[in-house]
Amino acid sequence: MKDRKTSAQALNPMIGRRSVLKAGAAGVAGGLLLPATARVAMAQDKKPLGAWPAGSDGDTVYVGLTVDLTGPYSAQGAEQQKGYELAAEHLNNGDPILQKISPNLKKGILGKGIKLGVADAETKPNTSVQAATRYIHDNKALMVSGSTSSAVAIALEKVCNREHTPYFTAISGSNETTGVDCQRYGFRPCYFAYMACKAIAPVAAKALGKDCRAAYLTPDYTYGHTTTESMVEFTEKEGWKTVTNQVHPLGAKDYSSYLINIANTDANVLVCVAYGADAVNAIKQAKQFGLLDKMKLVIPYSSAYIEVEVGSELIEGALVAQGFWWTMEAQYPVAKDFVAAYEKKFGGKPRDSALYGYLAIMAWAAAVERAGSFYPPDVVKALEDGSVLEIPVGPFNIRPEDHQGVINFPIMRGKKKSEMKNPDDWYDIIEIVQGKEVVPPLGLLGCKMGDYV
């Protein structure tokens, strides 16, 4: 007790010999106890950020996944999980596909294994934010990924930005995700409403004519509103007229009143902006009300498995944009390996949800390798360096200005049942859209990035 000094005494140059020895011993002991990464960090004058450096101390690094395993987008969430699991397996085993995707990728990430945590986001922003917070604080996750609803994606990129932890959407269609709500630590590898609508509008005008009258079914949240806005903009440039827009709640079951309103107009094209189980119910009921006998169906942002869920009778002739279709393996060698690996592990053909889960992990892993560190600002800067990955839909990179993925995607037409060569042969690809040709001009959607630290 006699050796205890106040801070004023401690600053006094007349410090006793015993105190100096004690302080020195404590310093050496403390230094030895500090984890290796922390010592490096201190040496480089990098303060702890997010779950770094604690998250990179062990033999494995933790990635937190927030996938919708319940709610209207649960089919897509389950598919995303498969994509993440496949990516983790490829990285942990050092699969040969890694070198085809990027020369930076090798077994592990900076030699460490990857461990996935899976939480059900329930298609709800608050649930997903709670899961992400737990991942970062309790599990020391160095990366968070997963979304189908843009409301979830936007909430997650905000919380991960605050926590300085890179976040990758899986699916997020809203213009706002990399527009007004863009974040320094938020990344959207997938295509989205603006890109899809800009690409599908001229194809639809060519296929269905320039004088179409369109009726919209729009889910009442950021994805629905921005997709309809973009679709109206691009189809009206092609000469189409917008007749009615029926806005419905997310997760609606009965569309009868909306469909009666549409039936009461002279619309000849039904633009189904609804996604997931909502789209299935809307399309199914549109058929029951006789609308699809006199109207053409356009789905500008269609969900994985919609063709299986509504059946060939309803998807036949429909124009759809989707992030990936397995027959793209004819154009892209990596797609062939990806489809084969997915089939071997899970059975069946992969959909875009699986691809986007897979891509999120690969993009992050390659960036960490380029950065040579898990330090979040360095990883973000590596993601912004314009490096190109060769993925199952062709070359891919992230725009540094808004963190939007420049990615290709197909526009397709639903096949007749009699034309299907096998049970997975649902679509004809009309065009593979080059992502760089349809990304919005920089600044158009109002993105303003924050700081790195």
Binding site: T70, A75, K253, D254, N281, V308
Partner: protein, 288 residues
């Protein structure tokens, strides 16, 4: 004007379907006093079981029988296994236990069928469209009007115009006294709980050609059923029908003006009823 009449008619059809869906909730709450949060899950179980039977036999009638039977069996197991211990417990305990059961049932369905939705084709006698003036309406939805009306009437007579209903209501008031009269109250309660569960399963099968089956769909219908029951009056059969029709008309007619607010208006109506007539339009004051 034709749009107005079209929506008015659609409101009636939607409303009767909602009334049918809420039937199971009304039976169990109105007779046993249990707030069954597993109602939506039983609806889902019935729907999926019906889908399986329909796929195997191609008979929608057998699907209705199969879906109802599976829901009945689940209901009986629920009552014997757990609910019997909860009749005399506070409502919050009943809510918690039924909510827990609903999570288990939904996850079993998800485990068996996955998250992808299933479309059920209407039976042969329900395929096609009917023209009512300028309104084009799915034939199957028209037929569900009749199915719902007949089912509600049948259940009303069984539970309120037979000695079974009398025993149940007496048992709720004083189980010991009814037992003393030589009546097995426990068995009667079991039967009523089973009928409530079967009604939920039946509605699940009837609804399956209209709305695609997903494991989570029950929660939405649970909410809708509560709105219908609260508007009409808890435990009142005529109330469930009135509540259903009012809910259907609100959804349909407000969508003409602004579809964005049609769901919100449903809850506004429920709030108004709770403020002005807490027991519901046809409910009895003071009933627990």
């Amino acid at each position: 004007m034709s749009l107005f009449f079209s929506q008015l008619f659609n409101g009636l059809a939607t409303g009767l379907l909602l009334a049918l869906i809420s039937t199971g909730l009304t039976i169990i709450y109105g007779t046993l006093g249990v707030i069954n949060f597993a109602h939506g899950a039983l609806f889902v179980v019935g729907g999926y079981a019906g889908y399986t039977v329909y796929s195997l036999t191609d008979s929608f009638i057998l699907a209705i029988a199969g879906g109802s039977a599976v829901a009945l069996a689940v209901g009986l197991v629920m009552e014997r296994g757990l609910m019997r211990q909860y009749y005399s417990r506070p409502p919050e305990d009943q809510i918690l236990v039924t909510f827990g059961i609903s999570i288990i049932l939904v996850e079993i369905v998800r485990g068996l069928y996955g998250g992808i939705s299933y479309s059920v084709t209407p039976p042969d006698w329900g395929q096609g469209i009917a023209r009512i003036g300028s309104l084009i309406y799915p034939l199957y939805r028209l037929e569900t009007l009749g199915i719902a009306a007949a089912t509600l009437l049948l259940l009303y007579f069984v539970l309120y115009r037979t000695s079974l209903g009398l025993i149940v209501r007496a048992g709720i008031e004083d189980a010991q006294m009814v037992n003393a009269l030589g009546i097995n109250v426990k068995r009667t309660f079991l039967l009523v709980f089973g009928i409530g569960a079967m009604a939920a399963g039946f509605a699940g099968v009837i609804n399956s050609p209209i709305v695609a089956l997903t494991p989570d769909m029950g929660f939405r219908y649970l909410v809708d059923s509560f709105v219908v029951v609260v508007i009409g009056g808890v435990g009142s059969f005529p109330g469930a029908i009135i509540g259903g029709i009012i809910a259907g008309e609100i959804l349909s007619l407000t969508s003409m003006v602004n579809p964005q607010y049609s769901e919100v208006m449903l809850f506004v109506a429920m709030a108004l009823v709770l403020v002005l007539r807490p027991q519901g339009l046809m409910g009895q004051e003071g009933r627990e």
